[in-house]
Amino acid sequence: MTEEIETTEPPAMKTEIHSTGGDGRISDRVKISAEHVSAYFGKTQAVKDVSLNIPEHAVVAIIGPSGCGKSTFLRSINRMHELIPDSRLTGKIALDGEDVYKMDAVLLRKKIGMVFQKANPFPTMSIYDNVAAGLRMGGMHDRKKISEIVERSLQQAALWSEVKDLLYKSGASLSGGQQQRLCIARALAVNPEVLLMDEPASALDPISTAKVEDLIYELKKTYTIAIVTHNMQQAARVSDYTAFFYMGELIEYDETRKIFTMPSKKQTEDYVTGRFG
């Protein structure tokens, strides 16, 4: 590693915070820091030397055209990338200053939850069991505590009122939007510190999308969130910071308002104004 580490720092906190983003609770503590991260599939390099910091209680949107490495970068953070055969990663990713690649992957993934593009509830489990799965398989057996957490998580995911009478039905019986919120509840149940969302609303209709976005806005009070999205309006609506990826490189990372109103790079401007991508 070279001496000069050029990390794209989050811009210094200003008194005024992005109107759609925060409620002033973004701390200036760095939750996740990536330094010179490169990710490979075999010989293909999907992420090229990316460095960025994610502050605690912030929502960071990662945008960019398809195949730009944004999902791969997200999946490197909770070490899902390494599950793909022939994959490789260089550089350093730290959670609260601790190198995630030196931590136990199972413990790490308890701290960094993930929501996937396509809702993937466990098909053989009921709604209740889906949410309880992470707890039970993490070794919790106190039934009362589990049912409290299940209810709380479903409430946090804004799903409780819709499913409270069908908790013992199959998770697969819900609509697409409900399934995605079930997956969010499932991720929240294990009480992570960070939530990674890989295009969580791309398969949802506008109403469900709005619900998920409202949810993100609520969740940032407790969690640090990184969200990959194809939808630039969504990035503008939900995030405090936006990272623009192109061809595996991090082109620009700044306050969301800046990225969408006065980006400093030509490529960013072209992308957010819809000239390409």
């Binding site: 899902m80 790490l108 993937n120 466990f122 799965a133």
Partner: protein, 282 residues
Amino acid sequence: MSDSRFWLRKYFSIAMFTLCGLSVVIAFIPLILIFYRTIAFGASALDWNFFTKLPTPVGETGGGLANAIVGTLILVGLGCCLSLPVGVMAGIYLSEYGQNWFGNTVRFLTDVLNGVPSIVTGVVAYTLVVLPMKHFSAYAGGVALGILMIPTITRTTEEILKTVPHTLREAALALGIPQWKTSLQIVLRTAIGGVVTGIMLAIARAAGETAPLLFTALNNRFWHTSLGQPIASLTVFIYNYSVSPFEDWIAQAWAGALVLMILILLLSIAVRFATRSSLSER
């Protein structure tokens, strides 16, 4: 022009559909014939004695194959004790961890083992169990059937587990669920119906085997008193009786075949019922 093409396509479609239907019928004919013959010839020799009495000497009526029915169940049970844990776990290994040279080698050898004639499996069990024990036994028969069942169970388990979407594994791992729990409680649980079907196939095949039992479990005209002794089985009785010149024995062979078929059918239904999903879909 386009009109004639339309009709051409229509007729072609009808022709293909008919061919497919015809193939189904052709495939069913032997099955129906076997069922018909077995029921027609076997049912007449079936009575209560068949299920409760021991075989009788030639000419003496009123005997049954109770010991052979129990023997077949015991032999298949012993085979399951060996093949279920080994086969299912090997299948999990191949599907979840076996993407390497070792996995490929195991996969290849399993396919080879699947193609080995069952009488060879009998010879193996003879060498492994009968020779050291110096006598034929139920254990030897169980080992022979177990070895026979392992490759079927391994490969079907692997293939079924592979159909579980990768996204489910990712969802589980991303929750901080350890890999082994993901394999057992998410992947295996999702695919358990298919795994059970594979096991049932293996059981059905093993229950119908005669060759590997001929010089392992041998046969027994009486009740066995321990599993270390030769034991009766329906298939060996069917074999012995059907080549005999005595009419009542031949009739009993048909009845034995019918009972074997019904046993496997009942077992399949029972297992299906026991492993069905308890969740209502809608």
